[in-house]
C-alpha cells in the first residue's frame, strides 16, 4: 500500500493513534455515522458530540457526516488512495463499517499496545478469574529499585 488514506474512528482519537503514527501526513478521515450516533441506545446527546469534536480538532483529520463505509471509500477515491489504514476496534458496529471498506479496498488494521498480554484462552467468567492471570503481569516490580539502591 503506497498511498493509503487513514480511517480514524471513535476508539482512537489521540495522538498515539497507530494509523497516524505509521503514516504521518497522509489524509485522514473521521465520520459521524448515523448508525453509531443513533444506534441501539438512541441518539447520543450533544455533549458527547462536542467532546468527540474537541478531540478531533487536535488531530490532522477531515471530519464528515454520513454513512461510514461510503464516506471512507469516497475519501479514498478523492485522494486516489490504494488502500485504507485504521486502528483496531472493539465496537462491533465499527467492525461492520470496516468489513464494507475491506470489501472494496485493501484495509490494514494496526493494533495498539495491549494493556496486558494474556495467553489464550482467557477465562472471562468473572473479573476475579481474569485478574488472577492479569494481576501478576501488571503489578510493578517493587523489588527492583530496592535491590539496586
Amino acid at each position: 500500500m503506497d498511498c493509503p488514506v487513514l480511517w480514524i474512528h471513535a476508539e482512537a482519537l489521540g495522538p498515539a493513534n497507530p494509523a497516524l503514527l505509521a503514516h504521518p501526513g497522509r489524509p485522514a478521515l473521521f465520520v459521524f455515522e448515523p448508525g453509531l450516533l443513533e444506534g441501539a441506545a438512541g441518539p447520543i446527546s450533544l455533549k458527547r458530540i462536542v467532546f468527540l469534536y474537541e478531540c478531533l480538532l487536535e488531530l490532522p483529520v477531515t471530519i464528515r457526516q454520513g454513512h461510514g463505509a461510503e464516506e471512507v471509500l469516497a475519501f479514498a477515491a478523492r485522494h486516489r488512495a490504494d488502500g485504507v489504514v485504521t486502528s483496531a476496534w472493539v465496537d462491533p458496529q465499527l467492525g461492520g463499517i470496516a468489513a464494507c471498506v475491506a470489501a472494496a479496498l485493501p484495509l490494514q488494521v494496526l493494533e495498539a499496545e495491549p494493556f496486558v498480554d494474556l495467553p489464550e484462552p482467557v477465562d472471562l467468567g468473572r473479573f476475579s478469574r481474569y485478574w488472577r492471570s492479569a494481576g501478576p503481569l501488571l503489578r510493578p516490580d517493587l523489588a527492583g529499585p530496592l535491590e539496586s539502591s
Partner: protein, 291 residues
Amino acid sequence: MTSSTPPSEPAPPPQPNRADLPRQFPDRGAMVLELAARFPLASGGASPIRGGSKPALAALAAVDPERYVASRNHLDGAVSGLSPYIRHGVLSLAQVRDVVRQRMARGPGLVSEKLLQELAWRDYWQRLWIRLGDDIWENQEPLKTGQREAAYAQELPDDIREGRTGLACIDAFARQLIDTGWLHNHARMWLAAYVVHWRRVRWQAGASWFLRHLLDGDAASNNLSWQWVASSFSSKPYLFNRANLERFGAGRHCPGCPAAEACPFEGSYEDLQTRLFSAPQLDDQAKGEAV
C-alpha cells in the same frame, strides 16, 4: 500488522470539499451552536468536561494511586476522571497503566493496586465485548432477584429521565448525568440500583439512557456494569441503603430532601431485600464498596 509499517508517501495537497465539517470556530460557543444545527437529534448542550489531549494529560498528571484508594468510594474522592479520554483513545490504557505503575513504585511502602485493578476492569469489559458482540445487550445469566423478567418495565419512566422523582440524591445524579455526561462510579451504581430494583425497570432501558449521556459510555463497561447491578452478571443483586449513601455521598443529598421522612432507601440490607425481591437474598449484601 504493527505500527512499524514504513511511512507512506506524503499526502497530496488538500482538496477542499464543501461537505467537510468545519474545523475553525471563533470560540467554543460557536462550535456548540454549529454542532447543534448539524446534529438536530442530539439533545442538550456541551459538558464542562473538555475533549482533547490537553485536559486528558492534565488529568493523568494529577493521578495519585494512594489518594485514590483512600477516597475513591466517596463522591468527593480523588477519582481520576480519565474515563472519557480512555474510552475514546485520547489516552491509551497502556499509557495510563505505565504512569500508574511508576507512581505505585515510587512510594516508600506498598501502594494499593486498586487503581491498576480499575484499569484492568476496563480491559476485562472490552475483552468480553469482543467475545459477546451484540449479545452484550442480553442477560448473561438469569436474574437472582426472584422476579420474573416480565416484571420489569421496558421503558425508563420520565420522572427518572428528567430528574424529578422527588428523591434529592437520585434527581441530583440524573441532572449531573444530563448536564455533564459524567458520574462518579458509586453514583452510577446507586442510580442503576434504584432504576432496576426500586422501580423495577429492565437494565437495558437504564443502560441506553446512560449511553446517550456518558462521555465515557460504551456498551462494554456500561452494559456489563448494569448487569452486575441487576444480577444478570453477578451472583447477587447490588443494593445500597440510606446509611451507605450518607456515608459516601459527601453529605449532599439527605439534608433538605423532600422525601427524607419517607426515604425508600431507609432500612437494613435485610429489610430492603425482603421489600424488593420476591425471594429473600440470603447472601451478605455488598455494603456499598464500589466495583
